[in-house]
């Protein structure tokens, strides 16, 4: 009887053990991630003073006020353009570069190493350097192009919000494509050469091999790189904040720079929190698609 009790206790302890192992990780994430999520929701439904003091719930007033701002709608549109353009072009470009780097050629190791540079460099440093390069008065791109004889006088690269935003997208692409390249490259190296040899015997064209062999086998790699990039690019703050800060006239914000300005420059925490929740909902939607996809693959 006593023995039985003891082994029951031991069993109970054993079944409890996994949770003890998970505890530090759970504590860290609950306090640092879940609590802020809760706070953002709470603030978004509250009236907040300029000093950040919460004065009580006010329903969906913050949301309605945000919706009335034309800047919000521009920002939302920019966010979609930014995310789709940067992720889309990076994926295509990254894919092509991976195909090239998968070829055997002298200096391949060097090129691989070079492609890592933009991925490893801090975004803030990338942003500052590009801001300098495209500067209209003394930027090095103008200096270079004039030396090469391609332009006579300096070009103002960021004369309109559209060109400003296009340059920001370019910097986004510049820092995003290496991740795609390496994800694809790791997939390409796992594909058995005999598949291509068999296809070559059958006389398959390049595109036939691409759509029948390469792309289907790279699907997991493409999923990981695309989904993670959507998240990163959507949340990317330093590029736009450094190069334009949303200027001119709030025309080049994305959701994250807009909410930062609302909260930490304009002192409108309530509005900022509402924008956060909207961004949060969009991300949660993407995240649940990703989770369903990856859990389904786990079952396979």
């Amino acid at each position: 009887m006593i023995q039985n009790n003891a082994s029951k206790k031991k069993n109970a302890a054993a079944s409890f053990m996994p949770y003890v192992w998970l505890l530090p990780s759970i504590l860290l994430m609950v306090i640092m991630i879940i609590v802020p999520i809760y706070t953002v929701f709470q603030i978004s439904f509250s009236e907040v003073g300029r000093t950040g003091k919460i004065k009580g719930l006010n329903g969906i007033t913050n949301y309605l006020e945000v919706f009335e701002e034309p800047a919000f709608w521009t920002t939302l549109q920019n966010t979609f353009v930014w995310t789709i353009a940067v992720v889309g072009i990076s994926t295509l470009l990254g894919f092509i570069i991976a195909m090239v780097l998968n070829q055997e050629f002298a200096g391949r190791k060097f090129v691989r190493a070079v492609v890592i540079f933009p991925w490893a460099t801090a975004l803030i440093i990338q942003s500052v350097i590009w801001k300098y390069i495209i500067n209209a008065d003394y930027g090095s791109l103008n200096v270079l192009l004039r030396k090469l004889g391609l332009i006579d006088s300096f070009v103002n690269w960021t004369a309109t919000p559209q060109t400003m935003f296009a340059w920001e997208c370019w910097v986004g692409i510049f820092v995003t494509f290496p991740f795609v390249t390496f994800c694809i490259l790791s997939g390409l190296q796992g594909i058995d050469d005999s598949l291509y040899e068999a296809a070559a015997v059958d006389g398959s064209s390049f595109w036939h091999k691409m759509f029948r062999i390469t792309l289907p086998l790279l699907r997991p790699n493409l999923t990981v790189s695309t989904v993670l990039n959507i998240i990163y690019v959507f949340n990317s703050f330093p590029i736009i904040w450094t190069i334009s800060k949303g200027a001119p006239a709030d025309q080049t914000h994305t959701l994250v720079t807009y909410l930062y300005q609302l909260s930490f420059a304009d002192g409108k925490s309530g509005h900022a929190a509402a924008v956060s929740v909207i961004g949060f909902v969009i991300l949660a939607f993407c995240a649940s698609i990703y989770m369903i996809l990856s859990l389904r693959r786990e079952e396979e």
Binding site: P18, W21, L22, P24, S25, I26, L27, L28, M29, I31, M32, V35, P36, I37, T39, G52, I97, V100, Q103, F105, G107, R112, I116, F117, P118, W119, A120, A122, I124, I125, V128, I129, Y132, I133, Y138, S140, V143, F182, C183, L188, D193, Y196, I231, Y232, N235, F237, L259, Y260, S263, F264, S276, F280, L283, C286, A287, Y290, M291, S294, L295, R297
Partner: protein, 277 residues
């Protein structure tokens, strides 16, 4: 994919990779030569290269601003966050790879979900939390946040590593009288060393390069990491580009080298370790 290339294909290939390298290295080249210019030459727009190479810039930055302090802060933040993330991540990844329990699927799902939320979108909440627990404007706050927001990747990469190692060796060690913790430390961790080092470096780089949280939370100059600290050369009216870029080079080179060291392990871990498991 070894196939015989026609001559024009070889030419096209080399042309392509040459253009690629030039475009990628261009900003780094600009960073280097601008970091070498004197202040007088900064706005002289007739020359690409500096007329007088100012190697002294690389020495002057250390006295022009508390750059050394910023680097130390970055080291403390990134080092602390890495240690914390790994110390919390190892037991979690171990449980997820070696034990069966209720709620495992839910926890994995939550981990994958949490990876979706960058701190930026939660900044308003994070700021409030940090003020409430008195950790805004402190290195400890940044350590905790960086560790938490890298937890998903840590668990993901470590779990993949642990799963790829057969549990037989640990079981043998347990029969020899080791307890679970002993078997983990003496048997599994040494075997998992490459995966653990990859994870360590990756979290370190993420925390080292982090900008937004630090910008938001840190107002005291003595607590700024290098990513925020370089803003001292970036005043409203007067930008000291040469110092800015000289400092940026110091902040970039070690990270690129670390990254080169782990790239192979990292990509394999990211694309297979977590998703397939």
């Amino acid at each position: 994919m070894i196939s015989k290339r026609k001559p024009w294909q070889t030419v096209a290939l080399y042309l392509f990779v040459t253009i690629l390298c030039v475009v990628i290295l261009y900003p780094y080249f600009i960073m280097f030569i601008t970091g070498m210019k004197s202040n007088n030459e900064m706005y002289a727009i007739d020359h690409i290269f500096p007329q007088a190479w100012q190697w002294s810039n690389f020495v002057d930055i250390w006295s022009a601003a508390p750059i050394f302090r910023y680097f130390i802060n970055s080291l403390i933040i990134a080092g602390g966050a890495t240690c914390l993330a790994i110390l919390c991540g190892i037991p979690a990844a171990y449980a997820l790879s070696r034990m069966k329990f209720k709620g495992k699927g839910i926890f994995m799902g939550a981990v994958i979900m949490s990876q979706m939320f960058s701190p930026v979108v939660l900044l308003v909440g994070i700021y409030k939390l940090m003020v409430n627990i008195n950790l805004n404007d402190s290195l400890l706050g940044l350590i905790l946040l960086n560790a938490a927001f890298n937890q998903a990747f840590t668990i993901w990469l470590l779990r993949g590593t642990f799963i790829s190692i057969s549990p037989e060796m640990e079981q043998a060690a347990k029969i020899d009288g080791c307890n679970t913790v002993g078997a983990l430390i003496k048997v599994l961790l040494p075997m998992a060393a490459p995966g653990i080092i990859t994870t360590l470096i990756f979290v370190f780089i993420n925390a080292w390069n982090e900008y937004t949280i630090a910008l938001t939370l840190i107002s005291t100059d003595a607590f700024k990491p290098i990513t925020v600290g370089i803003n001292v050369f970036y005043g409203f009216n007067f930008i000291q580009w040469q110092y800015l870029f000289a400092t940026s080079l110091f902040a970039t080179i070690p990270v690129v080298i670390l990254f080169l060291a782990i790239e192979k392990h990292l990509v394999a871990g990211l694309t297979s370790g977590g998703v397939k498991g």
